[in-house]
Amino acid sequence: MAVEVRIPTILRPYTGDQKSVEASGGSLSALIDDLESNHPGLKDRLVEDGDLRRFVNIYVNDEDVRFLGGLEASVSDGDQVVVLPAVAGG
């Protein structure tokens, strides 16, 4: 089962500079674990203390996963996942 995951510039060092990689998993959580197995270090940039990092946005088919159950959001074959760091500051 393949899901396209779009990787932002700042995280491309983890993916050998690829803009998009494939991963699989029935939930966002499983998908991130699969990503981690192929691109070690990536999970820590997305997840903190068992929850999504506050300033990282993840979208499944253009919907912010915060509205889809966060890490429990379901993901299926053919979906597109986009990772975008927040543009924010003080």
Partner: protein, 162 residues
């Protein structure tokens, strides 16, 4: 160094003054690999705050999709400080996630919504390290170098083809 055309510079300053006392934020997009800030995109500060800014997550996705479609990158990421100097705060540094962007800070603390000069400064922020850079404002960005110089030369050549 960051080189901006006058209209873009004025646009950023006007946005910062208009949104004062809340922080204003936005980007200037440009073709990937050119470092040319060509297209000013004002964003809504979803935090609506005098001490914090954040792009709305839906707006953020739309913006990055649009830039992707146009082969653009965020050449400049700008925001204003409304009560402090135009220098990145600790939060700004911790959340800076565009290693190739020029981070522009405008301070409206002196004149608020009114006419009058602002502090306008630019930085690179990479791995928590801040490097200030010079800002040059020009009437217009320099032209692109011709992409097909050879073809151009042919067109300008002998009409008999010699």
């Amino acid at each position: 160094m960051l080189t901006l055309d006058r209209a873009t510079y004025d646009g950023i300053v006007a946005h910062a003054k208009r949104d004062h006392p809340d922080e204003a934020c936005g980007i200037v997009a440009g073709p990937e690999g050119t470092d040319r800030p060509e297209r000013l995109v004002e964003m809504v500060n979803a935090a609506g705050s005098p001490t914090f800014y954040e792009f709305d997550s839906t707006d953020l996705l739309r913006l990055y999709r649009e830039m992707d479609d146009r082969d653009e990158v965020p050449v400049v990421v700008y925001h204003s400080h409304t009560a402090t100097e135009a220098y990145p705060s600790r939060t700004d540094i911790g959340l800076a996630m565009e290693p190739y962007a020029h981070y522009v800070l405008v301070s409206t603390r002196d004149h608020g919504n009114n006419d009058g000069p602002v502090e306008f400064r630019s930085y690179r922020i990479v791995d928590g390290e801040v490097t200030e850079e010079e800002v040059a404002v020009v009437d217009a960005l320099p032209d692109h170098p011709p992409e097909h110089a050879d073809e151009t030369a042919e067109h300008q050549g002998d009409p008999d083809g010699r």
